[in-house]
Amino acid sequence: MRLFACIAGLLLLVSHAAAIDADKAFEDPALQARYEKIISEVRCLKCQNQTIKDSNAFLADDLRREIRRMLEEGKTDAEVFDFLVVRYGEFALYRPRMSGKTLVLWLAPVVFIGFGAFIAFRVVRRRMSLPVDDAAESIDESQA
């Protein structure tokens, strides 16, 4: 029981620590959900491996404030992302949009998987065309 209380206490601390954004929630829950989605996809440029949702750097604070302001003005998500890309480049977004500059980024995984599959295919084909030795052949026949 005591252990349970300890764990529960620790979990409470964790949930508290995760709430970096101390600002008041939007009154409209849909708007709040959009806001949270956006800030979890924007990189904090000062602390590059954190989103601005997770960072308490003051730059993250400023960016959250700007995003909040834009959402209150009724801007769309795309307009908010545009605003950030114009100022900080595609690097500011955790999911950079597909464009000439980011094409390599998006296509590289497909190209690498394709290349790997091609190599695997060739290796398998070559092995299949090798003369099968007697022992293997006898097994094949027994199974057929």
Partner: protein, 177 residues
């Protein structure tokens, strides 16, 4: 033969790519404004909130816009060089006092000297965002027609100036577009 050569060559290319990648500083991000017109700069002046300083003040000259703050260690390091540069009259320097306390910033300029033609006061960082600032000090080189030519991240000094700014400045002087 190719059986061994191809994987070795591929391996060496990968090593080369990773070596280059590892030696790059990931904290230095290129400014998306390079080659585009400078973002709007219209702020109350640091020393006198009633007056403003804006892009219009650049007056068709090549200028530096230096982002600084009193909490920024690099800014203190480069301050001596900025004073030297200002007194040499090479290029006018405009300050963007970013995320600072006005009294602290005024005090700083009184104590250490003021290299700036004028400093804009950006207490809440809005202008900083417009300029894509993510860490002070940052220095933008703006051409006579208001295009961002170059952005340097980190404290300026004589060596950086000679290497990065002087060639770009002389290109500007030779090509008055």
């Amino acid at each position: 033969m190719t059986r061994y050569v191809v994987p070795i060559v591929v391996f060496l290319i990968m090593i080369a790519v990773f070596m280059i990648g590892l030696n790059k500083d990931p904290t230095i991000l290129p400014s998306p404004y390079i080659g585009k017109s400078a973002p709007a700069f219209d702020l109350p002046r640091l020393e006198d909130p009633a007056r403003r300083v804006s892009n219009a003040d650049f007056g068709g000259q090549v200028v530096l816009v230096n982002v600084w703050a009193t909490w920024c260690v690099g800014c203190r390091q480069e301050h001596g060089f900025l004073l030297e540069l200002a007194s040499s009259g090479t290029v006018p320097i405009y300050g963007l006092n970013w995320r600072d306390r006005r009294e602290d910033a005024q005090q700083w300029l009184l104590q250490l000297g003021d290299p700036y033609v004028a400093s804009g006061y950006d207490g809440d960082g809005t202008a900083g965002i417009d300029w894509g600032v993510y860490g002070a000090p940052e220095t933008f080189l703006i051409s006579a027609d208001g295009t961002v030519i170059y952005k340097y991240l980190g404290p300026l000094n004589r060596q950086v100036w000679d290497q990065e700014f002087v060639p770009r400045l002389s290109a500007q002087a030779g090509d008055p577009t």
